[in-house]
Symmetry: C2
Subunit: 160 residues, 2 copies
DNA sequence: TGCGCCACTGGGCAGGATGCCCAGCCGAAA
DNA sequence: TTTCGGCTGGGCATCCTGCCCAGTGGCGCA
């Protein structure tokens, strides 16, 4: 991993272009970039087989689905209960992602809920499991920087 | 918002299908769903103008870009320094997202770095700003549940 | 210095998908 | 019952895709 990886300027421009206008095709892309279509096509393929671009899945807004409340929960789990806890959390649809982190056997997960009241139900379901000792929840109020990748891509391209 | 929104079964199947095989076109989609092409096309358009589907931006893997280390930082900020802190954090490429949360004027941000050592540099840059009083960092070790949306979509579709 | 490799170019080709149109049908609401 | 919105199934021209090719230029290596 990371062996032959790395992004050059053209790769960076491809990703940024794709991030800004996801619907454009290879041909339009090659026109904007000022390269031959075959080049753009080859680069795109390489970026995907490289794993740099994982895919083009639809970005779904949980709020538009009826889940406008987002929260982060820090979980303290009982020793050795990791696998069970993971399985449990994976089975809860409102758990959007889960990380294990350094610290006291902690996990961090992102939750959504239909309302603040509903969040209580979600949390109850999340922590209503033997392996979980304690949970601390932080409700998201604003999202000044939504998940982004462009600045990082540009820096990676600059660093050659 | 959220007025006429909501997802029916067909919408749910469209999103799930798109999430699993993002490259398929409208025609192939209509074939898999067993509906007319016009229907699939109209639904997709509606989902996008609804805001349920925000877009189809490329999913870029920071690790493949040379940033294999992910961390979450909880920041305590000085009263009234919110706007400045946001601007500062937005200017750091390694800050992938930023949330303001309930609690003691806290913020939570996701960071990436080239290595554990590099993470120190990133954190220094993040907290090297007047408005930030204290920072607690949790390094991500594993990601048992990567950011996902399918289970939530299926539940939303089931709930009518 | 000369050679081979690799990426890029510019072009061509057939098949397929897209965007857009239409008339007809049907169920639900007024 | 009438109207309306959504779905169907079809057609159309245009455009893009995936794939192919030969030619060219830069670069590292012997």
């Amino acid at each position: 991993m990371g062996a032959g990886s790395g992004i050059d300027g053209l790769d960076g421009r491809i990703i940024v272009l794709l991030a800004r206008e996801p619907r454009i095709g290879v041909l339009e892309m090659s026109r904007r970039l000022g390269v031959a279509r075959g080049t753009a096509q080859a680069r795109l393929e390489r970026l995907q087989s490289n794993g740099v671009i994982r895919g083009f899945g639809p970005e779904v807004d949980p709020a538009a689905l009826g889940y406008p409340v987002t929260a982060f929960a820090t979980l303290e789990i009982r020793q050795g209960q990791g696998p069970q806890v993971r399985r449990h959390l994976a089975s809860v649809p409102e758990v959007l992602e889960l990380h294990t982190t350094t610290g006291t056997g902690d996990m961090l997960c992102r939750l959504v809920a239909r309302s603040n009241a509903d969040l209580q139900r979600v949390i109850d379901r999340v922590v209503g499991f033997d392996g979980i000792v304690r949970a601390a929840t932080a409700i998201v109020m604003e999202n000044p920087v939504p998940l982004r990748i462009i600045p990082l891509v540009e820096q990676a391209a600059r660093d050659r």
